[in-house]
Symmetry: C2
Subunit: 204 residues, 2 copies
């Protein structure tokens, strides 16, 4: 069990906490596999930081749920589902941290584990954006990658920092390192675009 | 903690056990969300059965790892990574079972939880195959859905049973209920194909 410093209570809607926990925890699985696949310790460290963040969200959510139940058993019953989904997200985030830990602790990658990591290579991709790439200067929403190629940018490395789960109005710069997840075909196409091997962005 | 009947020990390669644990546990998350989204109790029950299956695999894997370490600390160190990935898969499978449990226990779906489930609707789809659909009689590998549309068939309901994670040589029959996961665009296209609203299977 993690230990907490006393967290200051400020009300945050249960809905927002739960959606954030679910989104971040699922993202963490792919980030942890990316860290392992590309042997990136800093990304692995970021996954461990995210795990603490999810633990904090979980703590805040537990407080919110207790307050929301208002001492009423019927309200409490309604809230059981919320608490179950939150606990599921917490377990997923722990699992991601376990995998990231293999990378940060320098545990040798057993060939069997290597094979597991290679299996995720189909849906995870790392590419460095070349200066003549057509995607330089574009916002993620302009590229509309999810609809166009079934690809999501899950992290951007820029100036030694990882931007995790970038916003849709984030712009892509030359030299950015992108990690994406998605369908194999779209992934290959997007890698070629980022690396300047493909110069036309197909119209939808 | 689950309780086990004594499981008969028969050697299975660690590699096979680990790959199966990883694949099944990740699939279970999407199956659990599908069960919730489509309010399908039988699918939820299947997720709970899969959780027991993953528990058994985990138990067998623990035994294999102990045998493989051969009493040698250096071998044991090499195997830590394997055991970590297995434990991560086990946590993911527990998380999926938590979500499936909301469906089987008839816990009312709190609006906040409903919203969480709706968020996965983009990548999960359920369709009934109409008798005049062009995909009737085709094997999954002939359709080559992953490469073509970024879509995977994760479960087929046929004759009151769910076929979970169907093999590539599985054929599609009229009346099958399919659950798929994948990119939103491909998903929509595949639903139209299954329901006979789209009659041409584009060439790659």
């Amino acid at each position: 069990m993690p230990h907490f410093d006393r967290i200051e209570y400020k009300p945050i809607p249960v809905r927002d906490l739960l959606i954030e926990m679910k989104n971040i925890s699922e993202l963490m699985i792919d980030l942890a596999y990316s860290a392992a696949l590309f042997n990136d310790k800093e990304l692995a460290e970021d996954v461990l930081t995210l795990e603490e963040y999810v633990d904090n969200l979980s703590y805040l959510l537990d407080m919110e749920i207790m307050v929301a139940a208002q001492g009423d058993p019927s309200d409490a019953q309604d809230l059981i589902g919320v608490s179950t989904v939150a606990s599921a997200a917490d377990k997923i985030s722990d699992a991601a941290a376990d995998i990231a830990d293999i990378v940060t602790r320098n545990i040798g990658i057993h060939p069997i584990v290597g094979e597991i990591f290679e299996n995720v290579q189909e849906r995870l991709m790392k590419a460095t954006v070349k200066k003549d790439s057509v995607i330089v200067g574009k916002q993620l929403k302009e590229l509309d990658l999810a609809a166009r190629m079934g690809v999501d940018v899950i992290a951007i490395r820029r100036n030694r920092d990882w931007i995790i789960n970038p916003e849709e109005d984030e712009r892509i710069y030359s030299g950015d390192i992108l990690i994406t997840r998605g369908a194999p075909e779209g992934t290959k196409e997007f890698k070629d675009l980022a690396e300047g091997k493909l110069t036309t962005l197909e119209e939808e």
